[in-house]
Each structure stands twice: as C-alpha cells, then as structure tokens.
C-alpha cells in the first residue's frame, strides 16, 4: 500500500533500508548521529543502528571523505554526508582527484563503493555560500556518478541503487524539497541509476528538468496547456552520470523542441551538455532553437525577493517555452 512521506523522511528511510540489509554500510558526517542532521533528515538512525555504524565527525570534510574512501577501498560501503554541497569545495581534492581517479589509475585494483550525500541548491534564503546547485561540478569529473532525485520515491530507490553500486556516487538532495511530500510504494524500493523518467507526457516540446526544477516544470507544463494550448512533455533527468540520453533524445525527436530547466548558474550547467548532444544527434528533427532556462550567471542572492527573481520560476518557464513554440 502506498504511503505519503516527505522528501526529508525519505532520506532516513533510504539509509535505514540499506543499513538493515548490509552490515558493511556505515554512515558518517557532521551532526548526523545524535542531532539527526541539521535538516533532521537522518533522525532515528543512531537509535536503530548504534554509534559504531552511525557516527558524528569533527568539522573536517577532507577527513570525512578520506575516511569514506579508505573504508570503501577496504571492504566497507560508507555513506558520507557533506552538510551543504557548497562545502564540497573544502574537500574537492578527495572527491575529484582521489575518489574519482583511483580505480582508473590502479587499473581496476580498487573498488570504491561509497555514496556522498549532500544538501544542494537554493530557495531557502541562505545566501551565496549555502545555496549553490553544484551537481555540474561533479558531472564534469570522469569517475563520479551523479544523482539528484526530485521526489521521495525516487530518492529512496536511487539511493539504494547508489549504495549497491561499486562506483562512487554523488547524491544531491535539493534542500528546498525536504518538506515536500510524495507517495512511496510498500516494501523495499530499489531503482536504477542512469534512468530518466517521463513525468508528464506531451507532444509539442520536451522540457528536461532536475530536482527542484521538476515540480516547477510540471506546473509550467500545466499552464502551457491551459493558457497557450501547448503540450509539453516533462522529463526528470534524475541521473546526470550515467545520462539517459535515449529517453531524452527519443522525446526530442518526437516533439522537435527541447528546453532544459536548470537551477545552476548559466555557464557549463548540465543542460549545456544535454542541448549539445541534442544538437549533434537530433539536429534535423528540430523546429526551434535548443533553449536553456537557468539561473543567470551570478552568485545566488539572499533576499527572498531577489532569490525568487533569479531562480527559474514557473512563470519564466512558461514564457520561454511559449516563445519557442510560437
């Protein structure tokens, strides 16, 4: 029987599901155990699994991810939390230069089954240093898998797949989604990395979105239908690496139009890669310029009125897509 839970609750459900199943799964991070996480997304895990497997750390991001890497290389399946994705910059060497490259440099001698989960993105008025959408940082490094779910069921299923993967997975939880609710099926939930999902069917334009931009794209699609008579297909990318280009390109070939909706600043956002692939492989099917809807290329401001203005809004998606099909 389906159950309605929040994205926040989905995090602890996902971790618990995997920790119950596999003794080698351990969880570490700042304030994750006794306090249940600064977003309260990991409440209850310490009580259920104890202080050996669920562990508070010092504020030492390099040590947290180094510990996860060393443990993963030697038989464990660690889950490490970096409290805000902005803090990845303090330990980016471990992520991009050590974790991502070690299997390759050692010709496959090392296994790196670890998950780095982190609260990503804006919308909470936290200002430029606690609001960045940085999934593209990870996407550009060979050797990292990159996932960003938009709803509770996807979160649990993709998280399970990430923990069971023998590759390192960067798991971006969009922090403004924590209070949002969604239905989850009963029983164990396991999804597949590298799979996008068509979340709304349509014929005139393909709108590809990620994480918090997915509900906005769906709202925009409803308004495009009712206000402009435009039928938009919305695809939730879910996984940037591996990237399910098949689902995206087959939709674009049919609708002949593509817009991406990205929370990141303009330059080198994930959508740039998506439109470049579509440009190379679907060019002759296209009836409109490939279009990216992003945050402008600025740090995110703190004031609510400013932040709401610069993040892609439903209104901006509606206006931009309407022009493409006009």
């Amino acid at each position: 029987m389906a159950e309605l839970i929040t994205y926040r609750e989905a995090v602890s459900r996902a971790i618990a599901q995997e920790m119950r199943r596999d003794e080698s799964v351990v969880f570490l991070g700042e304030d994750v155990a006794a306090a249940g996480g600064v977003f309260k997304a990991t409440k209850g895990l310490l009580d259920e699994f104890g202080g050996v497997r669920v562990r508070d750390t010092p504020i030492s991001e390099e040590a947290i991810l180094g510990a996860a890497m060393g443990a993963a290389m030697t038989g464990m399946r660690p889950i490490a939390e970096i409290m805000f994705s902005d803090f990845l910059a303090t330990c980016w060497d471990i992520v991009a230069v050590e974790i991502a490259k070690t299997r390759y440099m050692t010709a496959g001698q090392t296994n790196l089954p670890l998950v780095i989960r982190t609260a990503n993105g804006g919308g909470l008025r936290f200002g430029a240093q606690h609001s960045q959408a940085v999934e593209n940082w990870a996407m550009m490094i060979p050797g990292l898998k990159v996932v960003a779910p938009s709803n509770p069921a996807d979160l649990i299923g993709l998280f399970a797949a990430a923990v069971r993967s023998d590759d390192p997975v960067m798991f971006f939880e969009q922090k403004s989604l924590y209070p949002t609710k969604g239905e989850i099926p009963a029983g164990e939930i396991v999804d597949e990395l590298g799979t996008a999902k068509v979340v709304r069917k349509g014929d005139d334009v393909t709108v590809v979105a990620l994480a918090s931009m997915v509900p906005r794209a769906v709202d925009a699609a409803e308004r495009l239908q009712s206000e402009h008579g435009i039928s938009a297909e919305v695809i939730d990318v879910r996984s940037l690496v591996p990237l399910d280009t098949r689902t995206i390109l087959s939709s674009v070939s049919r609708t002949s139009r593509l817009a991406t909706v990205e929370e990141n600043p303009r330059l080198c956002g994930w959508g740039a890669e998506v439109v470049s692939i579509a440009g190379e492989e679907c060019f002759w099917d296209l009836d409109a310029p490939l279009t990216r809807i992003t945050t402008p290329h600025i740090p995110l401001p703190s004031s609510d009125s400013l932040e709401d203005e610069v993040l892609p809004s439903v209104q901006r998606i509606v206006e931009t897509v309407a022009k493409m099909t006009g």
Binding site: T57, P58, G66, G70, T74, G108
Partner: protein
C-alpha cells in the same frame, strides 16, 4: 636560510640492540640494497629517456621504507606518496611490475595507467601512492577505520614528507585517527626540504611532525631515519600499539634525499656542507659497516648486493621488453563494470 645538521647517533645507538635478531638485520640490509639499486637504475632510465614524465627518488631515504615494512605483516595496509617506489617494493611487490610501470608498459603494476607517482598493488596491501600532498592521510585513516570496524587487527602505515605537515589534511587526519583510536601509524619522512624550500623556513616549530603530536594527544617521536634499526624498532612499537587497540602514532624520521626533489631538479639550492654531511651518513654503507662490525661475513653481504643487482637487471629487462599498453586500456576501469561509458 635554516640548515640542519644530521642528527648525532642517538646515545646507546641501535648498534647493539639485542631485540633485532640477525635474520631481521639481514632482511633489512637486503631491502636497503634492493631499494638503492632500484632507484639508481630508475634514475639511469630517466636519463635514457625510457621513463617519461617526472619521478621522485628515495635515494638516501631507503632506511625508512625498509624499517617500517619489516615491522608490518601480510594483510597490513600501506599508503605512500608520489615518492613511493621504495615503499611499494618494500612490501614485496615484484620489482618487474614496478619497473615496467615506470616505463609505461602493460606489464606494470597499474598497466601503465598509474606511472611512477601512483604505484599500487592491492594484493600486497599497497593501497596506493598519492600525488597530492597530504591527501592520503585521511584515506589511510579510512582504511584503519575499516579494519577497526571489521575487527581484523590490520594496521595501516602512512608515509608522507615534511611538507605535508603544513596542509590541512594532515591535521584533520591526525585528529580523526586520535578521536577514534584508529590503528594507523603516520610516518613523516623529514628530509628537511619540501621542494625547493627548507621546511624549517616555513614552519612554526622545529620538528614539523613531532612538535605537532601533542596537539592530538600523541607521543612526540623523533627517530634517526638513516638508521634502519632505529626506524624498525620505533615502527615495531607503533605497529604493536596500533594492532592491540592502542590507537595511532606519529613518527618523525629525520633523513635526507641525496638528489633533488624530482627528475628535473639537481637540488643545488641546498648548502654544500649540509649535503656532504648527510652523504657521509648514507644509510647503505653505514648499515653494511654495522653488520660487519657485528661479525656478519663480508661474503654474505656481497652476495646480498649481487642478488639485488641481478634482480634489478632482470626487472629492467622485463620492463624494457614489456609490451606497450593496448590503446583500448585507456578506456577501461573508469567504472566498476570495467568500462568508461557515461550515457546510453
């Protein structure tokens, strides 16, 4: 500019320490000579253009890798730096695979994809050589955490240079290992020079590792890094402590590199008298003399030297004859499925 004279032989020096038996001493000498001959050959192969890129030799510093490795047992983990030929060989990794890796050949330990700075042999517990200063201290800490979680009594040894003591990862890892009582032995090879700058010129304390130990509740340990016996005894104590749940140790071993930082560096920024003083304390002839003084026959030592030379010759031959990597191998092992695909 600060200069540091070599440490005087510690009082009651290891010459007559009864706790190191004759077999162990011969093993230490065998290791020292193998590492020395290997590094000399590696240098020659650079000059011939057979080793490309860069490389960092342990000439003059071999006693540390040898002394620590002799204190470890099968199943223990080691983490080394880009100056890691000696540490890799000292764990028993076959010389052919190491030499071939330097030459970028398919029969190298990493199939030619790692190179001099990334020697790894997981089956020998050599969990990698890391080329970003300090990065591997947290990773070694993680391996030690893993053995603690799995209850395996494995010990992790982590080698790094003096320069690493001023980077954040050193301090994060030391604190982490201390608060969780992790079975890890941190070994600082203080060769007095980072790359071109003396560590003493840029460090707030005299002993860059040992003087920081108290910050993490650890003992201040300084050892003569050119004395294999002294290194071995200190390592044995730290390894035993780690194995029996006593937590981490931080050892600062004083030593000196005979050459420059890397292939292209003649090391001529160092004062001549300092270099000469340290060359006079070359661990290989010093240890040979110690063994002779203890009654080991010169013939036995000569035989060890001949064997080492033959092993290096054979490894060189195997490396020279090794095939170049298949171009397809550039596209393998990005992912656990063996491939490099990022889309469908």
């Amino acid at each position: 500019m600060a200069t540091t004279t070599p440490p005087a032989a510690p009082a009651g020096s290891a010459t007559d320490v009864p706790s190191i038996d004759r077999d162990t001493r011969l093993a230490l000498y065998r290791q020292l000579v193998r590492l020395r001959r290997f590094e000399e050959r590696a240098y020659r192969l650079f000059q011939e253009g057979l080793v490309k890129g860069t490389s960092h030799l342990s000439l003059g510093m071999e006693a540390i890798a040898a002394g620590v490795a002799e204190a470890l047992r099968e199943g223990d983990y080691t983490f080394a730096t880009y100056r890691g030929h000696a540490h890799t060989l000292a764990r028993g990794v076959p010389m052919e695979g190491v030499m071939a890796e330097l030459l970028g050949r398919a029969n190298g330990v990493c199939g030619g994809k790692g190179g001099s700075m990334h020697l790894t042999s997981v089956e020998h517990g050599v969990m990698g050589s890391y080329a970003i200063i300090g990065a591997h201290l947290p990773i070694a800490t993680g391996a030690a955490w893993s053995s603690q979680l799995r209850g395996t009594e494995q010990v992790t040894a982590c080698f790094f240079g003096d320069g690493a003591t001023n980077i954040g990862a050193f301090h994060e890892a030391l604190n982490f290992a201390a608060i969780w009582d992790l079975p890890v032995v941190f070994v600082c090879e203080n060769n007095l020079w980072m790359e071109y700058t003396a560590i003493a010129d840029v460090t707030a304390v005299e002993h860059p590792a040992a003087d920081r130990a108290a910050s993490y509740g650890l003992e201040r340990i300084i050892v003569d890094g050119n004395d294999p016996d002294a290194v071995h005894l200190e390592a044995r104590r730290a390894v035993d402590k780690a194995r029996t749940g006593g937590g981490p140790s931080l050892i600062e071993a004083l030593t000196y590199r005979h050459g420059g930082h890397s292939r292209a560096d003649p090391g001529d920024y160092r004062p001549k008298e300092e270099v000469e003083a340290w060359l006079a304390r070359d661990p290989v002839p010093m240890y040979r003399q110690r063994l002779l003084d203890q009654g080991v026959a010169a013939d036995d030592l000569d035989a060890i030297e001949t064997q080492a030379q033959e092993a290096v010759d054979a490894a060189t031959q195997a490396a020279r004859n090794g095939p170049v990597p298949d171009i397809d191998s550039a596209f393998t092992d990005v992912w656990a499925d063996g491939g490099s695909s990022w889309r469908n």
